[in-house]
């Protein structure tokens, strides 16, 4: 890509950027205010309550949003790592965008966990007691793998940027010079070969870790709990992994679409990138719908009564409107993407992005439907629960989305969003 065009978003900032950044900052500040309100009054300000006698759900939107962000976090680095390992040169232009999405999503996942716990001031107890708990608690496994994933993905992003920053350093804004100095710490022009080796191994490690995170420790949070009907299943691993990859690819499609639109990079990011990404998305969505069928049929047909009541609530009961909306959005998206793949419909970048956005939203609702229903229909003869998220929960959820977009926009003003042409 031409250097001038690559540097344009960094060197020129339009009124649109300021307007968007201002609006997003307001939402992010609102999130901060809502969080302080929650810290002051306790989690009573949320819609969460004890299950059973308190007829509520102790986990809700925060945990569902955490799972959602972890899922999206895979997109980036997994796509970028796959591009490197499999030498998919056609997708090179979106590699860095994807990496940034990963790092930001991981941060937002961490934020949602912090919102969820009652005593964030004591969070260091997890580190103090780490060695005595890591053998037992799936939550500690989660923290471990997420921290490793975060360190590796930030390293990957920083190491892959060094060459570009070194070449462009003098043309980048002086305001962020310390940041560039940090990225270029110990830089040597002959480091290229060593750096490529490091990136290759990091890519391999990240692909392996991804399976352990979204197909492992996150589903194990739920799948190992024999206490809650509808969760205890070996299916959770593949089920979560496929959902995570689908939401990740869909989120990357949406982000890349917006970047391409806003920066006018139609030439640099070709339409083939979108049709190429939509194919694995379609396959993953079909697999996901197939696993939903497996799960629901198992607990509805043969399951003990407690399991049946969960399935009943999802398919025909209280949660049916949400459940069928999720299935409907996924089915329409997969039908559209499939017909486009088969050539029955003309390829369209815009409509692909709309389908992808639908999938991202549907998978957020699906995560709520995994977490909440089991608490509302307990095994013992407790009253049926209710869970309605309050304005605090919506504020914190939407606030993290605004903050994520804001961080991405901030990154685009500091670092080039695309790798420069590989110079031999």
């Amino acid at each position: 890509m031409e250097t001038e065009k690559l540097l344009k978003p960094i060197r020129e900032t339009g009124i649109g950027f300021y307007a968007a950044a201002g609006a997003l900052s307001v939402v992010a500040l609102w999130m901060l205010a809502a969080w302080l309100y929650q810290l002051r009054n306790g989690l009573i300000v949320t819609g969460l309550r004890d299950w059973g006698v308190g007829y509520g759900a102790p986990w809700g939107v925060y945990i569902a949003t955490f799972v959602w962000y972890i899922g999206i976090a895979h997109g980036g680095i997994a796509i970028s790592a796959a591009i490197r390992l499999l030498r998919l040169e056609a997708y090179k232009p979106i590699a860095r965008i994807a990496e940034v999405v990963t790092v930001i999503s991981l941060m937002m996942a961490g934020a949602n966990i912090t919102f969820d716990i009652g005593r964030p001031d004591r969070i260091f107890n997890m580190i103090v007691n780490y060695w005595s708990r890591v053998g037992h608690s799936p939550l500690v496994w989660d923290v471990t793998v997420i921290l490793i994933y975060m360190v590796l993905s930030i390293s990957y992003l920083v190491i892959s940027m060094r060459d570009d920053i070194a070449a462009l350093r003098r043309r980048l804004p002086r305001l962020f010079a310390p940041l560039y100095a940090l990225v270029l710490f110990g830089y040597h022009p002959e480091e290229r070969e060593k750096r490529e080796q490091m990136l290759w191994w990091l890519a391999l490690a990240l692909i392996c870790l991804m399976t352990l995170l979204s197909g492992g420790v996150v589903p194990w949070l739920f799948g190992l709990m024999v206490s809650q009907a509808g969760w205890f299943s070996a299916l959770q691993g593949p089920y979560f992994l496929i959902g995570a990859l689908a939401s990740a690819i869909a989120a990357i499609i949406v982000v890349v679409f917006l970047v391409r639109r806003v920066l006018g990079w139609e030439k640099e990011i070709s339409a083939e990138v979108f049709s190429g990404l939509s194919k694995p998305l379609a396959v993953l969505l079909i697999a996901y719908l197939y696993l939903v069928l497996q799960e629901q049929l198992t607990i509805l047909y043969a399951g003990p009564p407690a399991e049946q009541s969960i399935s009943h609530a999802l398919l025909f009961g209280h949660f049916a409107p949400l459940f069928w909306m999720v299935i409907g959005v996924m089915a329409v998206s997969v039908a559209y993407l499939g017909l486009q793949w088969l050539g029955a419909l003309p390829p369209s970048v815009g409509r692909t992005a709309i389908a992808a956005a639908g999938v991202v939203a549907a998978l957020w609702v699906k995560r709520v439907l995994i977490v909440v229903p089991t608490f509302l229909y307990p095994r013992l003869p407790y009253p049926t629960g209710i869970y309605v998220p309050t304005w605090v929960e919506w504020s914190l959820f939407l606030g993290t989305v605004a903050l994520a977009v804001l961080l991405f926009m901030g990154f685009s003003k500091m670092f080039p969003l695309m790798e420069m042409e590989v110079r031999r």
Partner: protein
């Protein structure tokens, strides 16, 4: 070493809920939290309708899923068989509540001064002016507090309810009473002697003798939690029972 456990004689229980209230009085639990709870449910159809009462304390399991999932070791098994929460270590993730199949965990959603049946926070200051509660009663904390709850056992703060906002609490088998040689409050206050407490490892204890007299069963035994609360007589609640009482949403 002792291994405390409880037997609940359902043939004697009338569902009077004296245990529920005794627990609330003894442990100062917040509004809506019932560490002891009595399921009241009916089953069958006229003319065979049956009404059952089933008291439900914490099961103090020998294989407690809540302790296994705790990320900080705040929920732990005491050597005397209690399953307890270290209120000073808990981070409030509520994973123990998720992992427990019995629904015995109660989170402090509100600040303690607002979670009691009388709001010693906002409401009291509106009625009597700021600071008047501690001044009027000459107490340090809330005037309804049982002073035994400030006591630590093996260096850990584990007794009593309504301790801190944002931490998990549940039935402690009244460790602060048992350590003094008293029975748990629910057992002490049962007018029918339906609740029997004692050392399961001592064949001469009340609870061991009660267990040897009648066939016992345990709640959700199939989940492998090995509860130390045994039910005598009665039957496990089926999934089709009709509830007669509901909880309270705070």
């Amino acid at each position: 070493m002792v291994r405390y456990g409880m037997a609940v004689d359902l043939d004697r229980c009338t569902g009077c809920t004296a245990c529920v209230l005794a627990c609330k009085m003894e442990n100062n639990t917040p509004e809506g939290a019932s560490w002891m709870w009595v399921f009241m449910h009916e089953s069958e159809r006229f003319p065979d309708v049956k009404i059952d009462a089933l008291p439900r304390p914490c099961m103090h399991c020998d294989e407690p899923p809540c302790t296994y999932v705790c990320p900080v070791g705040a929920r732990f098994s005491h050597e005397d068989g209690f399953v307890l929460t270290d209120f000073e270590r808990c981070i409030g993730c509520r994973y123990c509540e998720v992992a427990c199949p019995y629904g015995v965990n109660f989170f402090n959603w509100k600040r303690p001064e607002e979670s009691a049946y009388f709001d010693f926070g906002k409401e009291a200051s509106q009625l009597y002016g700021t600071g008047s509660v501690s001044e009027a009663t000459g107490t340090d904390g809330l005037p309804n507090r049982n002073p035994d709850h400030a006591k630590k056992y093996d260096g850990r703060l584990v007794a009593g309810g309504g301790q801190f906002v944002g931490v998990m609490e549940k039935c402690t088998f009244c460790i602060h009473r048992v350590k003094k040689g008293l029975k748990p409050s629910c057992v002490q206050n049962c007018p029918m002697d339906a609740l029997i407490f004692g050392d399961l490892d001592d064949p001469e204890s009340d609870v061991s003798r009660a267990l040897s007299r009648k066939k016992a069963w345990r709640l959700l035994e199939e989940l492998g939690t090995e509860p130390k609360v045994f039910y005598l007589g009665g039957r496990p609640p089926g999934h089709d029972v009709r509830m007669l009482n509901t909880g309270k949403r705070v």
